[in-house]
């Protein structure tokens, strides 16, 4: 064993308090759903973790009624200062149960424990703390006089950050006085149902939060329900368009946080070692299952070779494997379906003529894993430069001038995020100004904070989450 080799340091799965069965949370109680139960698996081992009861279309109606009743009778009447205290309680309980939530999240999602522990769960708690404070200060949000809640919010979240996306949705909805019917993703329902327990622990009035596990049909019936006032969706652009079509012509307020194909632009004067860390974080964080992932690397031609060399070396040191091991950098792909989608797009890169390099890291035999992959000689017309891969696959393109970088970066129907690496301040600000994206990270990447609005331009969706701007999504102003 060399001096820099790692010994396994797995977090104990017992901490997750895994139960054999989980049930939908409706009107303040866990109930038997009328849908077909689903088995949620550990994507790192393909073993079944638990059986989860799902909602049926009729359960959706019951949940919306419960949310409406809670809205009319309790939540919309409660002073903001009182609502705030429930949110503060929830935030504290997330912190207190953070280790349990982190391990459970890594088991169900496949993400490395160091990410669920240091990023997902603390940021989820931070969202509740942040929004708790807004509940009695909405008159100061600058969105107009007399801001009023919308009513019942239907929320549909993805599998890439199950608890964090729940927090992004539920915290602002409750702070602004709305009640919630939320559907977690089919493959990652567990932390949402532990969150339901936290709502009970916090003595949140029944019906204020309802959580209905299920597949796309449940999401659809939430979207179509006549007594839902607002729909918030995070997920793919294709499904987002479908939802926008369904909501068309109704009074429902809609916000969409959809896909992306972010350009991460590296200029020749960038601190290259720092930039390489940012590139790696930008695309390999959370196995690349990030809507704002820096999946298109644009490198200035004069440093392209040097960057590629440093990048390959750095990527080859990433450790792939057991998500519960504290040394793991890259965990499991969330599902067999997603793995096959990644493989398909990677094959298209090969056949369209890009040059593929794959990290020589060992890949476990069981579970859904995909070794970090970097494509060079990528042309803008290739599928791997245009389509969201949602996996640990980076496409590298080059440019000569800042104008060319801007043109290439903006050459996409998406517009969620972008990265800039340069030491020149005036160029950072000029680039930030030119890039058509909702979040621009300069000399950093993948930073998230409840105080900083997040969301997209163009086909990456509309509406923002976080900050003062994000409150508008849940207010009648």
């Amino acid at each position: 064993m060399g001096i820099f080799e790692y010994a396994p340091a797995p977090e104990s799965r017992d901490i997750a308090n895994l139960k054999p069965n989980y049930r939908p949370f409706l009107g303040g109680e866990f109930v038997d759903g009328n849908g077909e139960p689903l088995k949620t698996i550990n994507p790192a081992t393909e073993e079944v973790l638990a059986e989860v009861g799902t909602a049926s279309v009729s359960d959706v109606d019951v949940a919306v009624k419960a949310a409406r009743k809670a809205y009319n009778n309790v939540w919309s009447k409660m002073p903001g200062s009182e609502r705030a205290k429930y949110l503060f309680r929830i935030a504290r309980l997330i912190q207190e149960r953070s280790r349990e939530l982190a391990v459970l999240e890594s088991l169900d999602n496949g993400k490395p424990i160091k990410e669920s522990r240091d990023s997902d769960v603390p940021t989820a708690a931070a969202h509740f703390f942040y929004h708790a404070g807004w509940a009695d200060k909405l008159d100061y949000a600058g969105l107009g006089p007399n801001p009023r809640p919308l009513g019942v919010a239907g929320q549909i979240i993805p599998w890439n950050f199950p608890l964090l996306m729940l927090a992004w949705k539920i915290a602002p909805a409750l702070a602004t006085g709305n009640t919630v019917v939320l559907k977690p993703a089919e493959t990652t329902p567990l932390t949402a149902l532990v969150f339901a327990e936290i709502c009970q622990q916090a003595e949140l009035p029944p019906g204020v939060v309802n959580i209905l596990p299920g597949a796309g049909d449940i999401g659809q019936s939430i979207v179509e329900h006549g007594d839902v006032d607002k729909i918030a969706f995070t997920g793919s652009t294709d499904v987002g368009k479908l939802i926008q079509r369904q909501v068309a012509g109704t009074a429902k307020k809609l916000t969409l946080e959809l896909g992306g194909k972010a350009a991460n632009v590296v200029f020749d004067d960038a601190p290259l070692d720092q930039a390489v860390e940012g590139i790696v974080n930008g695309i390999f964080f959370n196995q690349g299952h990030v809507c704002c992932a820096g999946s298109r690397l644009l490198v200035q031609e004069s440093v392209a070779e040097e960057v590629m060399e440093k990048l390959k070396y750095r990527v080859s040191t990433l450790r792939l494997g057991d998500p519960l091991d504290k040394n793991t950098d890259i965990g499991a792909i969330n599902s067999a379906e997603q793995l096959s989608k990644i493989k398909g797009l990677v094959e298209s890169g090969d056949t369209e003529g890009a040059h593929r390099w794959t990290s020589p890291c060992p890949v476990p035999e069981r579970g859904f894993f995909f070794a970090p992959t970097v494509f060079s000689d990528v042309q803008q017309s290739m599928r791997i430069a245009r389509e969201e891969i949602f996996g640990p696959v980076l496409s590298v393109l080059t440019f000569r001038t800042p104008d060319e970088a801007v043109t290439k970066a903006n050459n996409t129907p998406y517009g969620l995020s972008a990265g800039i690496w340069t030491e020149k301040g005036s160029r950072i600000l000029w680039m930030a100004n030119q890039l058509r994206a909702g979040v621009v990270w300069a000399n950093t990447f993948n930073r998230f904070d409840p105080a900083a609005p997040f969301g997209g331009y163009q086909e990456s969706g509309f509406g923002r989450e976080g900050g003062r701007t994000g409150l508008e999504a849940y207010l009648n102003v």
């Binding site: 068309a248 930030a432 979040v439 950093t444 930073r447 904070d449 105080a451 509309f462 701007t469």
Partner: protein
């Protein structure tokens, strides 16, 4: 009344700063509310919509990059010129809407004042809606609102000038560019507004005004891949769901508008400005 034969005017479209006829060659008669013939207006087609979107996209780079102060100056100059054409607008609004001269005068005055109100917003809206974000880490993070892009506007059918100004000025104030379909039956004030815009300092293509039928052209705007937002105010309420469905194919921002045309004399708020702005959050590390 003299015996002089008046000079009849040929009305045209306003696209890219120029006044072309409809490529379709179509015109339609415009009458006053009592059915008396006023003029023939150009009847814009799908191709005219596409030309106008191309012009609006081309103009977006320059208009959105202009300083907010400069945009404010340009828009204020438009208001000055509206004031200069006040009498013409009053007679056209009176004929188009069938209101008495005094009422028409008051509507025109409100329209001019509304334009001034929006002109003053250009260099303030970013302060009001932007933010310095107090993030939990060693980063400087700020959020600025930026213009959405090309906006398709179906102007109100009833309020021929005040309504038009109320839906067009906020688009321009944000730095977005516009393709407007005027009121079908009351297009004359829109045509005169085009002439004002053309002789003001507004760069060609920033505002494009088409006379024609929202029922025919709305769908082409809603489905156009290079339009970023849609204001369906001038569409029939029964047609709005269909337009919104078409707009969903490119995730357009679609304004929610009331079924009945609002009272445009009500004091406006910033909600229309907000709908044409995208919040951009920028992060940079702090360090030495």
């Amino acid at each position: 009344m003299s015996d002089r034969i008046s000079v009849a005017k040929t009305y045209k479209l306003y696209i890219g700063g120029k006044f072309p006829r409809s490529e379709s060659g179509r015109v339609y008669p415009v009458n006053d509310t009592k059915g008396k013939f006023l003029a023939n207006a150009a009847h814009a087609s799908r191709k005219d919509v596409r030309d106008a979107v191309v012009a609006a996209r081309k103009a977006f780079g320059g208009w959105s990059a202009a300083t907010a102060y400069n945009r404010g100056q340009v828009l204020y100059r438009v208001a000055e010129m509206l004031e200069g054409r006040r009498e013409q607008f009053v007679s056209e609004v009176a004929a188009s809407e069938g209101v008495a001269a005094k009422k028409a005068q008051s509507l025109v005055d409100t329209a001019i004042d509304r334009w001034v109100w929006y002109a003053g917003w250009t260099d303030k809206i970013a302060t009001v809606l932007g933010a310095a974000n107090p993030v939990a880490g060693p980063y400087f993070s700020f959020t600025v609102p930026e213009p959405t892009g090309v906006v398709g506007v179906l102007a109100p059918q009833q309020s021929s000038l005040l309504g038009l100004v109320s839906v067009l000025a906020p688009v321009l104030a944000t730095g977005s560019t516009a393709v407007v379909v005027s009121s079908a039956d009351r297009p004359l004030p829109a045509i005169t507004l085009s002439e004002v815009l053309a002789t003001s300092d507004l760069p060609g293509g920033v505002a494009n005004i088409l006379t024609g039928r929202a029922s025919e052209l709305g769908s082409w705007l809603a489905s156009h891949g290079d339009v970023n937002a849609l204001d369906p105010t001038g569409a029939e309420p029964s047609a709005r769901a269909g337009l919104a469905r078409e707009a969903a194919n490119t995730v357009k921002r679609v304004l929610t508008v009331p079924d009945a045309e609002p009272d445009w004399t009500d004091t406006p708020d910033i909600s229309r400005l907000r709908r044409y702005l995208e919040a951009k959050t920028v992060w940079h590390p702090l360090g030495v």
